[in-house]
C-alpha cells in the first residue's frame, strides 16, 4: 500500500474483492481505525450486566474495554487502561465490583469510571499537576437498541437508530420471536473459537445462503439419516423460501418469508435437538401436552429463529445466538456465540435452545467448525495474490443495488456486496493513511 489516500477502489469493486483486503496488515490497521475504532460496534447485551457493578471485559477494535453498569445504574464502555501509566484496571472476563483498582501503583476508580483515589497524591499536588479529574475514559458514544448495546470511539457518528435503520426490524424479530417477552443472554461461559483468517470472512459467512448446501452437507446428510427425510433446504435455486436482504449501512439478513421456514424442506430444530440427552423426552412431553402437530410447529418457532442477521461490522443474530466477531490481526479472529434464552418461556424450551446451539455451533459443533475451516482455506488461498480479485457477483443487478436496500434469492451475494459498500464508505472517510 502506498502513502497518501487509501484507494478503496483498489480493494473493493462492485462485484469482487481484492485479496489484499484480507491479507494486508496495513489494510487491517486502517480497518481498526476507521471501522472498529470510529464507527458503531456492538459491545454487549444489557442482560449481561443487569445489576449495579456488573461488568464484562471486551474489545472495541484493538482497544480493551470494560462494559460496566455503574452504581448510578448507567451502562458505560470504559477503556480498560489506568490513567497513570496504562495498566489494565480490570483483569476478569466478567464480575461485579464497586471499584476498579490498578494494582501497579494503586490508583482506584469507581465503577462509573471516576477516579476515587491516588496513592501518595501530595507528590502531584506539590508540582501542581491535577490528577483528580483523570477518570477512566469512556467511549464517547454508547447507546442501545432493545438491549443491544453499541459503542463508538468517535463522538461524530450518526445516532444509533439512524445507523441501524431498517435493520432494527430484524433485531425486533430476533427479540420478539419466541415468548414475546424478549431474550436475555444466558449467564456463563459462551462458545468461543478462534481461527487464522481475516474477520471479514466470518462477516460475509453470517449471511451467506450460498454455502450451506456444500459446506454443511455432512450435517444435512446426518439429519436425513436420522429423520428419513432429505433435508437440504438451501441448495436448489428457486426452491428456497429464503431471501437475501441487503439493508442500509452494510447490514444484511437471510430471511424466510413470513410464516415460512426450513420445515417445508425437512430441516427442523426439533429434529436437530432430538438426539441430545433429555431432549427426546421433552419433545414427547410437549407432543402429548399440545398434540404432535401443534407442538412441533410451536417448538420449531421457539427453539430458534429462522433468521440470519448481520449488523455491520461485528454482530450476528443466528438462530438463538448472539454472534460477536473480534478481529485480532489481519489473519486472526475470535468469535463468541452468546446463547440467548426466551424470557418467561417454559424452561424446557430454553433447554432445547441450548441443545440446538450445541449440535451445530461452537468448537465441537457439527456445522460451525466446517465454516471455520473454509475461512482458513480462504486465507491460505487468498495468499495467491497473483490471482487478484474474488468474484462477488451472484445476482448482481446495478439497478437494484444502487439504492440502499436490495433483495435477492437465498444465494445472492447482494448481502456481502452491501457489507463492502459500507466498508468502502468508512475506509474512504479520511484523507491520508493514519498518523
Amino acid at each position: 500500500m502506498t502513502a497518501g489516500r487509501f484507494e478503496v477502489e483498489r480493494y473493493v469493486s462492485p462485484t469482487g474483492i481484492h485479496s489484499d483486503t484480507y491479507t494486508d496488515p496495513e489494510v487491517f490497521r486502517l480497518e481498526m481505525e476507521r471501522v472498529f475504532e470510529s464507527g458503531w460496534v456492538y459491545v454487549g447485551h444489557e442482560s449481561e450486566v443487569p445489576e449495579k457493578g456488573d461488568y464484562r471485559t471486551t474489545f472495541m477494535g484493538r482497544q480493551p474495554v470494560i462494559f460496566a453498569r455503574g452504581d448510578d445504574g448507567e451502562v458505560r464502555l470504559l477503556l480498560n487502561r489506568c490513567r497513570h501509566r496504562g495498566a489494565t484496571v480490570c483483569q476478569d472476563q466478567a464480575g461485579n465490583s464497586t471499584f476498579f483498582r490498578c494494582h501497579y501503583h494503586g490508583w482506584t476508580y469507581k465503577n462509573t469510571g471516576e477516579l476515587a483515589g491516588v496513592t501518595l497524591p501530595d507528590g502531584y499536588a506539590a508540582c501542581g499537576f491535577d490528577v483528580k479529574t483523570l477518570a477512566l475514559v469512556a467511549a464517547p458514544r454508547c447507546d442501545r437498541y432493545r438491549g443491544f448495546v453499541f459503542g463508538s470511539l468517535s463522538p461524530a457518528v450518526e445516532p444509533l437508530e439512524e445507523y441501524l435503520g431498517p435493520a432494527a426490524t430484524y433485531i425486533d424479530r430476533f427479540v420478539d420471536s419466541g415468548s414475546g417477552l424478549g431474550v436475555r443472554v444466558r449467564r456463563g461461559v459462551p462458545h468461543r473459537y478462534r481461527f487464522r483468517a481475516n474477520w471479514k470472512l466470518q462477516m460475509e459467512n453470517t449471511v451467506d445462503g450460498y454455502h450451506p448446501g456444500f459446506t454443511h452437507r455432512s450435517f444435512f446428510d446426518m439429519m436425513a439419516d436420522q429423520t428419513g427425510k432429505k433435508a437440504n433446504p438451501y441448495f436448489k435455486r428457486g426452491e428456497s423460501p429464503i431471501r437475501s436482504k441487503a439493508l442500509r449501512n452494510g447490514h444484511a439478513a437471510l430471511d424466510f418469508g413470513a410464516g415460512r421456514s426450513a420445515e417445508e424442506f425437512g430441516d427442523t430444530f426439533y429434529e436437530r435437538v432430538r438426539n441430545a440427552p433429555g431432549a427426546a423426552a421433552i419433545l414427547e412431553e410437549f407432543e402429548s401436552e399440545l398434540g404432535a402437530e401443534v407442538a412441533r410447529k410451536e417448538l420449531n418457532r421457539v427453539i430458534a429463529t429462522g433468521l440470519n442477521v448481520a449488523i455491520f461490522p461485528n454482530l450476528g443474530l443466528i438462530q438463538s445466538q448472539i454472534r460477536v466477531t473480534r478481529p485480532v490481526s489481519v489473519d486472526e479472529t475470535e468469535v463468541t456465540l452468546y446463547p440467548t434464552e426466551l424470557i418467561g418461556a417454559d424452561p424446557r424450551v430454553n433447554y432445547l435452545r441450548r441443545r440446538a446451539q450445541e449440535v451445530f455451533f461452537g468448537p465441537a459443533g457439527m456445522g460451525g467448525p466446517d465454516d471455520v475451516e473454509m475461512f482458513r482455506r480462504c486465507q491460505v488461498g487468498l495468499a495467491a495474490g497473483a490471482v487478484g480479485w474474488t468474484v462477488l457477483a451472484r445476482g448482481y443487478d446495478t439497478a437494484i443495488e444502487e439504492g440502499d436496500g436490495s433483495e435477492g434469492d437465498f444465494a445472492a451475494e447482494n448481502a456481502q456486496r452491501a457489507q463492502y459498500r459500507q466498508w468502502r464508505r468508512l475506509m474512504d472517510a479520511g484523507p491520508g493513511d493514519g498518523r
Partner: protein
C-alpha cells in the same frame, strides 16, 4: 479425600485400578487409531460424553456445553467424521491421547469414578496443538465388562477461544 489413604478394601481398589488403567489405555488407543465405532462400544447405552463450558455444572443440561451427547449422537458424530466432507476434520487430525495422574475413587463393586489428567496432542497441518483437560470417567462393571457411564472433560482453558474440537477428545 484420596482413595489411597482411605481405601476400605485394598482388593477392590486394586481391581478398579487395574480396570481403570486398562480402560483409559484402550480408549486412548481406539481414539488415536480412529476406531471410533469400537470406542462408542465402551459406553453404556445411557452414557454421557460431556465437555462442559461451566465447570461448576453437575449435570450439564442447564448450561451451554461444548459437547453434550449420548451414544446416539456420538454415532452420528462419528458417521459424519467418516463422511469425507466433515471439512474441519478433512484430512482427519492425528491425535495422541495421554491420560496420567489417574485416581480411582468412590468405589463400589459395580461403579467407580476415575479422575485423570488428559493431554491430547492434536496434529494438524504441521502443527502440534494441545488440549489440556481434567477428565472424569464414571465406570460401570457389569457382566464381566467395564463400560463408561459418563465421560466428562473439563478443558483447562475453557473460558478462552478454542481451536477446532469437532473430533473426539
Amino acid at each position: 479425600m484420596t482413595a489411597v489413604l482411605t481405601a476400605p478394601d485394598a482388593e477392590l481398589l486394586a481391581a478398579w485400578t487395574e480396570r481403570a488403567s486398562r480402560l483409559l489405555a484402550t480408549e486412548s488407543l481406539l481414539l488415536d487409531s480412529r476406531r471410533y465405532e469400537e470406542w462408542i462400544e465402551l459406553f453404556e447405552e445411557d452414557a454421557l460424553y460431556w465437555i462442559p463450558l461451566d465447570g461448576s455444572s453437575t449435570e450439564g443440561g442447564e448450561s451451554l456445553n461444548i459437547a453434550f451427547e449420548g451414544p446416539a449422537r456420538l454415532r452420528q458424530r462419528v458417521a459424519r467424521l467418516r463422511s469425507g466432507i466433515a471439512h474441519a476434520q478433512e484430512p482427519p487430525s492425528s491425535t495422541v491421547h495421554c491420560y496420567s495422574s489417574v485416581l480411582v475413587e468412590d468405589l463400589s463393586q459395580e461403579t467407580a469414578t476415575v479422575r485423570s489428567a488428559l493431554l491430547v496432542v492434536h496434529c494438524r497441518f504441521g502443527e502440534q496443538l494441545l488440549v489440556a483437560a481434567r477428565c472424569e470417567h464414571r465406570l460401570v462393571a457389569r457382566d464381566g465388562r467395564v463400560r463408561i457411564g459418563r465421560k466428562r472433560v473439563d478443558l483447562a482453558d475453557v473460558d478462552q477461544a478454542q481451536n477446532d474440537l469437532s473430533f473426539v477428545l
